[in-house]
């Protein structure tokens, strides 16, 4: 055909076919890629350039799309070279009516490199998933295996503390109390780690049902009332009547206890913890606010990462898994948790859950 056309030297493949699938034109670049002569391609049916699976795709997707919309963008197609090798391409085509009939003009970019990158990324992600799963299994096994010796420590300490075991002097009593406190702390850490490894591995299967928000808040309040009073805090509740959410009631309880315990932990004496609940569209939002020191903007996201704790105030306890677990649990129930805060102005953690159907 017209020698010396710009399209022949272009760094992309180009060909034109009619509505019957006959090739009307092809550029030199594509001919070189296919190792074919112009005479072998022009006038032939497009099927000759396609591997068998590609023919089906062409008939059922590419062609109909072109006819319907007049264009087809960024489709993946494979073309078969004369030597029988399949090459991957990204194809975009546009259909043009001319006095001689329809012309479907198609531009092709090779995707060999890109496919290789994609394969590498997929392999890397699979490797990361496997490593993550192994980590979860290790954490879960470890926290299981540590329970038996912990059990021995606790039982023995308890036996030693019992009056029937014989009288203790004050030093022995306070030594035993220290062992008891440390083993209590150890158990809490183990439970957190076990819970987190479960949540992280997607093994938490929540038992979703309709849960009354007032019932859930009553339950949390009755459990935490002693801590709130002991910390010298006020407690307020504002909620719309008869709110119901789709949730696993035990998991919801776990989240509420975690958020409220945090609020208690970070709020100085004389402060206030408030809980508010309202429905917004199809979601129920539960806000747990405190009058504590607040969270610096830079830490609002990282506090949900495992093993991160606010470093201020020298307050501690736990390995910083509480919020990570709570967020995983919320997400397992198709909800989420976000934090808002301004330093000096307290913090609000908002738990969003799906509202029950009315």
């Amino acid at each position: 055909m017209n020698a010396g056309r710009v399209v022949d030297g272009a760094p992309c493949g180009y060909f034109v076919f009619d509505d019957q699938g006959h090739v009307l034109d092809v550029n030199d670049t594509l001919l070189a890629w296919l190792a074919a002569e112009r005479a072998q391609v022009v006038g032939a049916h497009i099927d000759l350039m396609l591997p068998p699976a590609g023919r089906v795709f062409h008939q059922t997707h590419f062609f109909p799309l072109l006819r319907l919309n007049g264009r087809a963008d960024e489709m993946f197609i494979a073309l078969r070279t004369r030597s029988g090798q399949d090459l991957p391409f990204l194809a975009s085509a546009a259909r043009r009516e001319t006095p001689d009939g329809a012309r479907n003009e198609c531009v092709l970019l090779p995707m060999k490199e890109r496919r290789r990158h994609e394969a590498e990324i997929l392999a890397a992600r699979r490797a990361a998933d496997v490593a993550n799963e192994a980590k979860s299994r290790f954490l879960s096994m470890m926290s299981h295996d540590l329970r038996t010796p912990l059990q021995t420590i606790v039982a023995t300490t308890k036996a030693l503390s019992h009056p029937r075991h014989g009288p203790l002097n004050d030093v022995q009593r306070s030594d035993l109390a220290r062992i008891e406190r440390a083993s209590g702390e150890l158990l809490r850490l183990l439970t957190d780690i076990l819970e987190f490894s479960r949540a992280g591995s997607g093994r938490v299967q929540p038992n979703i049902e309709d849960v009354g928000v007032d019932t859930a808040l009553d339950r949390a309040e009755s459990l935490l009332r002693p801590q709130i009073d002991e910390a010298g805090l006020a407690y307020e509740r504002h909620e719309q009547a008869s709110l119901r959410v789709r949730a696993d009631s035990d998991r919801l309880q776990q989240i509420l206890l975690n958020l409220m315990t945090n609020a208690i932990k970070y709020t100085p004496r004389g402060g206030c913890i408030s809980v508010a609940a309202a429905q917004v569209d199809r979601e129920v939002l539960l806000h747990i606010s405190d009058t504590g020191p607040g969270i610096p903007a830079g830490q609002l996201d990282t506090i949900f990462e495992p093993f991160v704790q606010l470093d201020a105030h020298g307050l501690q306890g736990g390995v910083g898994l509480g919020l990570a677990i709570s967020r995983e649990l919320a997400r397992a129930m198709e909800g989420d948790i976000v934090a808002h805060s301004r330093p000096g102005d307290g913090s609000t953690f908002t738990l969003a859950l799906r509202a029950s159907a009315p």
């Binding site: 329970r147 038996t148 059990q151 606790v154 023995t156 029937r164």
Partner: protein, 129 residues
């Protein structure tokens, strides 16, 4: 009141036994495997059995199945005491006829176990030999 405690971890078994003796003043028989528990149970005739679940050889679930074939033990309360406190273990344990599953570790778990045994003494008709 006689309690049979079975755990392949000797320290766990012995410490629990010591606690039950000192706090509740019960008679306790300790065995460190399912096999030896099965061998001892017929003569010992426990009023309650506390079984670890993960044990090499005959595990706690299998031990309970075998012990419960003995008519004199079939109606006695069995308590599973395990670090592997999963929903699966709970469902199997309840099918076999365990009365309770108590997770290992922690003050609360130990206190629960003691309370359970003490409740059993006050609610079950004791056999008199």
């Amino acid at each position: 009141m006689r309690v049979l405690i079975v755990d392949d971890d000797h320290d766990a078994a012995d410490s629990l036994a010591a606690l039950v003796r000192v706090v509740l003043d019960y008679d306790v028989c300790v065995r460190y495997s399912g096999e030896s528990a099965i061998a001892a149970a017929g003569d010992y005739r426990p009023d309650a059995v506390v079984l670890d679940i993960n044990m090499p050889g005959v595990d706690g679930l299998q031990t309970a199945r075998i012990l419960k074939r003995d008519r004199r033990l079939a109606r006695k309360p069995f308590i599973a005491h395990t670090a592997a406190d999963s929903a699966f273990v709970r469902s199997v344990a309840s099918r076999i006829g365990f009365r309770e599953v108590v997770p290992k570790g922690g003050e609360a778990a130990v206190s629960d176990l003691i309370d359970m045994l003490s409740d059993i003494e006050h609610s079950e008709p004791m056999e008199h030999r």
